[in-house]
């Protein structure tokens, strides 16, 4: 009781000094960083000559990784806020189908179809969140219900309206549409042309596109992924709202007592997850020119796996958007890399399982050091 009243505190002799290097290393993304280095080292050693690291190859795994990143950002923020969304995959299929129905069957302008779909899907996200915060049920159950409900509609609606499960012809109606270009277009075409002319990247050697570079620009999908990652990272670490996300997931009751509007934060994060799923869906529909009832199958688990590899805690309150992005990169590189390396594609799952387990064990260890959990 006597030394407690001293105005200045002594350093606690029981707390070990931590070296600057160790302190820099101990961060939520470490698992993701180590995994990324390991995966790239592996494929540089075993698949360097396979074309995986020429312009076309890089674009191939970048696009796949960017797809994972888009849904991982949403899943990451939602998981940090303490909730899950298992309806992401079904939402992707549903959003794509709605655009196709609006634009092709009803003949609406594509930009109207896209905007209406975004509004509809984020509203469904809000409904998901509202049910979770109102009933207090685990989001696992509520969104599992929506996994089936949305998938059911995605199969039912095109069958009733068009008598088929795939609606095509979107490329034709999207031609020249300003909003469709934001999801399906490419940027920096000039740079790639110049790179092709300068002989830095490969060009077509014959055919009617002779002389054009094989990779003719960066797809908007990748731009969306980068924009969403930067947005998510800044929101989470640099704003008041980010602090509320951590607080809502860390301990909703304590956060509420401190005046954090926990329900609003959670509902907004459900809406953001739905928004990310819709971005994914629109990009995919514009790329393929069609919408299928089976699109987005199992994407919810892939998003959650990427987030967990990236160091987030399944129960909420801890994680990093950059980590989730690295998790998505690992996912994409492994999936495409095994193909380039000529490995039997079924082994992808074995690889994925091993990486998941390794990253999660490392992340748990790091997290315990940071947070003092026992």
């Amino acid at each position: 009781m006597t030394n407690a009243t001293q105005p200045t505190a002594k350093p606690d002799e029981r707390v070990k000094e931590i070296s600057a290097f160790r302190q820099a290393m101990i961060r939520p993304e470490l698992g993701g960083i180590v995994g990324t280095i390991a995966v790239f080292t592996f494929f540089l050693l075993f698949a360097f000559d396979s074309g995986m690291f020429n312009s076309q190859g890089v674009m191939n795994w970048s696009v796949v990784s960017a797809q994972f990143m888009i849904i991982a950002v949403g899943a990451c923020l939602l998981m940090i806020a303490g909730e899950f969304d298992l309806s992401v995959g079904s939402m992707i299929g549903f959003a794509g189908m709605m655009i196709a129905i609006f634009a092709v069957t009803y003949g609406w302008p594509v930009w109207v179809a896209i905007i209406v779909t975004f509004v509809l899907c984020t509203a469904i996200g809000a409904l998901n969140g509202w049910i979770v915060v109102r009933t207090g049920l685990p989001s696992f159950i509520v969104t599992l219900a929506f996994l089936f409900i949305l998938r059911g509609f995605t199969i039912f609606l095109p069958q009733v309206i068009e008598r088929k499960t795939i609606i095509g012809g979107i490329s034709d109606v999207a031609e020249g549409d300003w909003l469709a270009a934001i999801f399906g277009g490419k940027i920096l075409g000039g740079v790639f042309n110049w790179l092709g002319d300068a002989g830095i990247i490969a060009t077509f050697e014959r055919g009617n596109r002779m002389g054009e570079p094989v990779v003719d620009g960066i797809p908007m999908l990748i731009v969306w992924a980068i924009v969403l990652i930067i947005f998510g990272h800044v929101l989470l670490t640099k704003t008041k709202f980010g602090n509320w996300i951590f607080a809502s997931g860390g301990d909703a009751e304590a956060a509420r007592n401190s005046g954090v509007p926990v329900n609003r934060v959670k509902i907004l994060m459900f809406m953001f997850t739905a928004f990310c799923a819709t971005v994914f869906a629109v990009c995919q529909v514009m790329e393929f020119g069609s919408a299928g009832a089976d699109r987005g199958l199992l994407k919810e688990f892939e998003a959650i796996i990427a987030v967990v590899i990236g160091g987030a805690l399944l129960t909420g309150g801890y994680g990093s958007v950059l980590g989730a992005a690295l998790g998505a990169l690992i996912f994409g590189v492994v999936q495409q890399g095994l193909f380039f390396a000529g490995v039997e594609s079924s082994l992808f799952r074995v690889f994925l399982g091993v990486i998941l387990l390794g990253a999660v064990i490392l992340n748990t260890y790091i997290r315990r050091i940071i947070t003092g959990e026992r």
């Binding site: 009243t5 200045t8 505190a9 002594k10 707390v15 602090n243 954090v260």
Partner: protein, 273 residues
């Protein structure tokens, strides 16, 4: 179990107007009557202890005071004016801060993020409002130094602090944000001896700054160590308020337990309860 402590005791004079005054507060949850007419007041610079056994209604009562529950009946006066809180935010902005029994802090988050949770400082860069982390870190380190806690850094997670340190962080946070009334819900119930004395010392330090402290406890010794006045709650009703020195620990203990049974127990345990 002596009443002599090293603490200075606040001396609220009789004419002092209470900061908050609660009259005949009732709270019903469906068929359950949690509070059946409780009156309580707190003056500036005093530590008013609210004692009671488990289930006596202590937590319900302070939740009513901090705006979490709305009273079914009864009146609340804050600085002489009648008051109605819509939610805890109203109470916080009026100057009523609560440090809760279990988790006032989120262990996974850093001390500075916890310190400013719900009250984040902001700055504008290019028209966008950002969380002012630099300011938050500086203030946190400074306030923690004042309370006698030496942090490794503002990014240190609260989970790495001891229970007493967490309570102290929570109290420092409330004081920093201009609390006039500080409600401490069983701050010492899960703490060891040394940590308890740290928290009691913090209470004393806070009281000297002119803040009214409501100290909820079911431990008579802890209450007697810092309390100026004592109110005992039993089965949703007040059994009266006593000033320091007017009541013995044994009497308090009896009041809390409702007398009878504990007297028998005490006999069989040799007076150690």
């Amino acid at each position: 179990m002596t009443e002599e402590t090293k603490f200075h005791h606040g001396d609220p004079s009789g004419n002092d107007k209470p900061i908050i005054e609660m009259k005949n507060i009732e709270k019903h949850f469906g068929r359950v009557i949690a509070l059946a007419g409780v009156s309580f007041d707190v003056k500036s610079g005093e530590c008013h202890c609210l004692l009671g056994d488990n289930g006596a209604g202590k937590s319900t009562f302070i939740k009513t005071m901090s705006g979490v529950h709305k009273p079914t009946a009864g009146e609340i006066f804050f600085e002489g004016k009648p008051l109605h809180f819509e939610d805890p935010r109203d109470a916080i902005s009026a100057g009523i801060a609560t440090v809760h029994q279990h988790l006032a802090m989120i262990p996974l988050m850093s001390v500075s993020r916890n310190f400013f949770m719900g009250n984040e400082p902001e700055k504008k860069i290019a028209g966008i409002t950002f969380f002012d982390k630099k300011y938050a870190d500086e203030v946190t380190m400074e306030e923690m130094r004042k309370m006698g806690i030496n942090l490794r850094g503002p990014d240190q997670a609260v989970g790495t602090l001891s229970g007493g340190e967490r309570q102290t962080v929570a109290i420092a946070r409330a004081v920093h944000f201009g609390a006039k009334i500080l409600i401490l819900d069983e701050p010492t119930s899960a703490l060891g001896v040394r940590q308890t004395s740290n928290v009691l010392a913090t209470i004393d330090r806070v009281r000297k700054q002119g803040i009214g402290v409501v100290f909820i406890s079911h431990n008579v010794r802890h209450a007697l160590a810092v309390g100026d006045r004592f109110t005992v709650l039993n089965r949703g009703q007040t059994l009266g308020t006593a000033k320091r020195g007017e009541i013995s620990p044994e009497e308090l203990q009896d009041l809390m337990a409702g007398g009878q049974e504990l007297a028998q127990l005490e006999g069989s345990l040799g007076g150690t309860v």
